[in-house]
């Protein structure tokens, strides 16, 4: 068995509810990701996807279980992964360029050096001409791209993307998917991706973890045995359809239809 790049073993997370009872946000979640893989988490809203990310990023101490990155215990350690939170979270008082270099800046890279490094990316990924604009002047898609660039330029081996394309129109979205695959391929990052879009998950991923809610848990792990690079036409082919249907079934979306018929 290959060594995993990142591993969640038996992670549980409980929250105290305001009425004093305990809420099980995650129950015994185990996820293993090999280096260079693209993994997606799908599941109903509130099943704990963002919570998993917060735990991996070290922003939250799990009630039980451990996060292991590069075979070392990284539970509760920050700075080990690039994390794009569900909101784009651009600093309104910083220009696009200054937002993008934030990760480098925090690490102590000089401002000039960081900007020089980041500027070509800004142009390459469709933010050219906006590098000195403030986020308030950007469209939703551009904001998302800027936030994604910031995560990528942080230059960690593992990146966590929490619904990065959730707010984009279908066209921009598919372009962003291509772009992400390109980057993932170029930089050989290990990506964990959260989405609500089953098609997106199947198209992008090597493995898909399907989750269920109350308590949040992994229901199944599906492999996507479709060769890369994947032209968009694969979405119309049978293997793709089968996996997609399998996912939808696991998400419980056909069960009720069966009752209705």
């Amino acid at each position: 068995m290959p060594i995993s790049k990142i591993e969640l073993s038996g992670v549980s997370q409980q929250f105290k509810k305001p009425d004093g009872t305990v809420f099980h946000a995650l129950e015994n979640v185990t996820i293993r990701v090999e280096a260079g893989k693209f993994i997606s988490l799908i599941g109903p809203s509130g099943c704990g996807k963002s919570t998993i990310f917060n735990i991996i990023a070290g922003l939250q101490q799990p009630s039980r279980g451990a996060v292991i990155i590069n075979s070392k215990d990284a539970t509760g350690m920050v700075g080990g992964v690039g994390y794009m939170l569900q909101k784009d979270l651009l600093f309104p008082w910083r220009t696009v360029l200054d937002n993008i270099v934030l990760g480098l800046e925090v690490r102590g890279v000089s401002n000039r050096e960081a900007r020089e490094y980041a500027l070509p990316f800004v142009h390459k990924y469709g933010l050219g001409g906006f590098e000195h604009a403030y986020p308030g002047a950007l469209s939703g898609g551009m904001r998302q791209r800027a936030a994604l660039l910031r995560t990528l330029l942080y230059d960690s081996e593992v990146i966590l993307l929490d619904e990065p394309f959730g707010a984009l129109d279908a066209q921009t979205r598919s372009r962003m998917q291509e772009w992400l695959l390109q980057i993932w391929h170029d930089f050989r990052k290990t990506v964990i991706f959260v989405t609500h879009d089953v098609e997106e998950a199947v198209y992008l991923s090597d493995d898909i973890y399907v989750m269920a809610a109350r308590p949040g848990r992994v229901k199944a792990r599906l492999e996507v045995p479709i060769a890369r690079p994947r032209p968009r036409e694969v979405m119309l082919e049978r293997p793709f359809m089968l996996i997609k249907e399998e996912c939808l079934k696991l998400l419980g979306q056909f069960e009720e239809h069966a009752e209705a018929a």
Binding site: G58, L59, V78, F91, L102, V106, L248, Q253
Partner: protein, 301 residues
């Protein structure tokens, strides 16, 4: 198979939201036939035509001249007692004397200095104190009741005590100004600290930032607009502090000039000092407003 089932069947995949399939309600509410008692009403959008600037200025000048004229007239005719109320012509004459003879500039400079120094010290100390609460929630909880207590004391009531401690010179006037402004800044900045976007902090931490980095790059810029918003309030408070200090015991200052003139029944001089004080206040207010807009332009987008 009814239409409903068919609909669900053909659209199950596309309609399926993240929470599962969207279920059609079993009974769709019938369209309401009877109109509501309150039908939609057409109205004209309220629009006020703006007067040209020259007209507004002329109007304002007219009001000013008319009220001064009325005042003058009233004291001449005897509707108002000129001994208590003085009259514009006498005030104007006194104004000339005030600036040519005597030490008007010393008084103005004294009051101005006391207000500005009190303003700067009180505002920066308060802002620093408010910001410091970000560093530890325990420390903030510990300090809060003391802050609230200090806030609730009428600071001007302490003025005689402050004069005793700091003497009759400039420092006591500054101290009263500081006492008035520091709490306002502290409380406002603390509100700003509490409203810092926790997700921005988390983002910074996820990038491996130290607390100091989070403070400099997230907390300080977020709180700055709050700190700036109290500047205008504080300049007024600092001036009030300086004047009250001068009322109680002082050798110089516009406050002392007013008190002195009042005690010697030189009502025209009272008016002159009040007038000069107002000018000073307006000048400082405009200065701070200018500072505020410059700072905000750099902070807020």
């Amino acid at each position: 198979m009814g239409i409903r089932e068919q609909f669900v069947r053909t659209n199950a995949a596309t309609l399926a939201g993240p929470q599962g399939p969207i279920r059609l309600p079993d009974e769709i509410a019938p369209v309401r036939k009877k109109p509501f008692a309150a039908p939609p009403r057409l109205r004209r959008l309220p629009v006020e035509r703006t007067w040209p600037t020259w007209f507004v200025v002329a109007f304002q000048a007219t009001i000013l001249v008319a009220s001064l004229g009325l005042w003058e007239l009233a004291t001449r005719v005897g509707w108002m007692d000129a001994f208590f109320w003085s009259r514009p012509s006498a005030i104007f004459a006194t104004l000339l004397v005030f600036f040519t003879a005597g030490d008007a500039m010393t008084d103005i400079w004294f009051t101005f200095r006391a207000a500005i120094i009190g303003f700067v010290l009180g505002t920066s100390a308060g802002t620093a104190l408010g910001l410091s609460f970000w560093w530890s929630r325990n420390y903030a909880n510990l300090a809060q009741p003391y802050i609230v207590c200090f806030e609730s004391i009428p600071k001007l009531a302490l003025a005689p005590l402050i004069i005793l401690v700091f003497g009759v010179g400039l420092s006591s006037k500054i101290a009263i100004g500081v006492a008035l402004t520091v709490v306002v800044s502290t409380l406002t900045t603390f509100s700003g600290v509490k409203s810092v976007d926790g997700d921005l902090e988390r983002l910074m931490y996820s990038l491996g930032a130290s607390r100091w980095q989070v403070f400099c790059k997230v907390v300080f810029p977020s709180v700055l607009p709050w700190g700036i918003s109290v500047l205008r309030v504080n300049i007024g408070l600092a001036l009030t502090g300086a004047i009250v200090g001068e009322f109680i015991a002082s050798q110089h200052g516009l406050g002392r000039a007013i008190l002195y003139a009042g005690q010697t029944y030189e009502i025209a001089l009272v008016w002159v000092a009040v007038l000069v004080l107002s000018m000073l206040s307006i000048a400082m207010y405009l200065g701070v407003s200018r500072l505020e807009s410059v700072l905000l332009r750099h902070v807020k987008r």
